[in-house]
Subunit: 175 residues, 2 copies
């Protein structure tokens, strides 16, 4: 299952109030209004394929669903990066400089042999999703607590989209 | 100081090898080749203005420099979200549903009164930056260890750009 992201591309300062004090947060806005189409993967997808989706769409993270299509985790791009670095280099980054090219190649191959569930950070598994009619403040509260770059939005047990942290800020500060 | 980000927009599967096993990681690629222009703020910038940059450019995070223009921290969008949510809602997100609109407005105003240094997460202050001639593996190792959505790249004590996690994955998996 893969949805191509629809991103809003905005001008550098378009829509900004002239000063910070005039910004208001619309607590009546609902999660469904903020949700965007984003690629999703399942826990049993190939981890390297998930990394490619993150890379090609320049995503901060990706929603992971179970077999029924229900979101249950978030996989941040910064965590996938971890899996292309050999363990001994993670522990001592200074060793990266002396890594030979063939060793680096093997590191990338390692990711290909893994499933998404193998590379999920513990604190972002079983992440609560937002309901379509949750308020923007409810979504923000969950996102902030989990330090997640995105939150899935569900309606009638079906994934309706994803809200990124920057999308949420955009909605909160430009209403 | 503000640089508008230059993003590469790629097709859904363009450039992907047909299977995961063929991916190689180019350890000879250097940080300067990966660095992109991104907005930066200083520790003394208004936090609300920083939030607007994140929102308008849909960034996963923003580099924070000291007064000399040297990067010293990374501010992730998911952490800025925390500052538009009242503290008691952060602790119990179920309270967000009963938050009145005027209370939410005051939450946004609170962010406007803060400096960037006030909203920096501890673990992303004093973040090491990458040198322009660091290898992609060195950058990945630092990014993974810090769980940072991006890393600043410095040459001759000057910020030359920023590498996001998804940009790094893109370079690592599509060479």
């Amino acid at each position: 299952m893969c949805h191509v992201p629809q991103r809003a591309h905005r001008g550098a300062t378009a829509g900004s109030p002239p000063n910070g004090r005039s910004a208001v947060l619309s607590s009546t806005m609902r999660a469904a209004q903020l949700a965007e189409d984003f690629p999703v993967v399942t826990a049993y997808s190939d981890a390297l394929a998930a990394a490619r989706l993150l890379a090609e769409h320049r995503l901060p993270g990706i929603v992971v669903t179970d077999e029924s299509g229900k979101p249950f985790a978030v996989l941040p791009a910064s965590q996938v990066v971890r899996f292309i670095v050999p363990k001994y280099v993670q522990e001592d980054p200074s060793l990266a400089g002396v890594l030979s090219e063939s060793m680096a190649d093997r590191a990338a191959d390692k990711l290909g042999g893994k499933k998404v569930r193998d590379v999920l950070p513990d604190h972002l598994a079983n992440v609560p999703w937002a309901h379509a009619d949750d308020t923007i403040i409810e979504v923000a509260a969950v996102m902030a607590r989990l330090r997640s770059p995105l939150i899935a939005v569900v309606k009638d047990n079906k994934l309706v989209g994803v809200i990124t942290a920057s999308r949420l800020l955009d909605a909160a500060l430009n209403t």
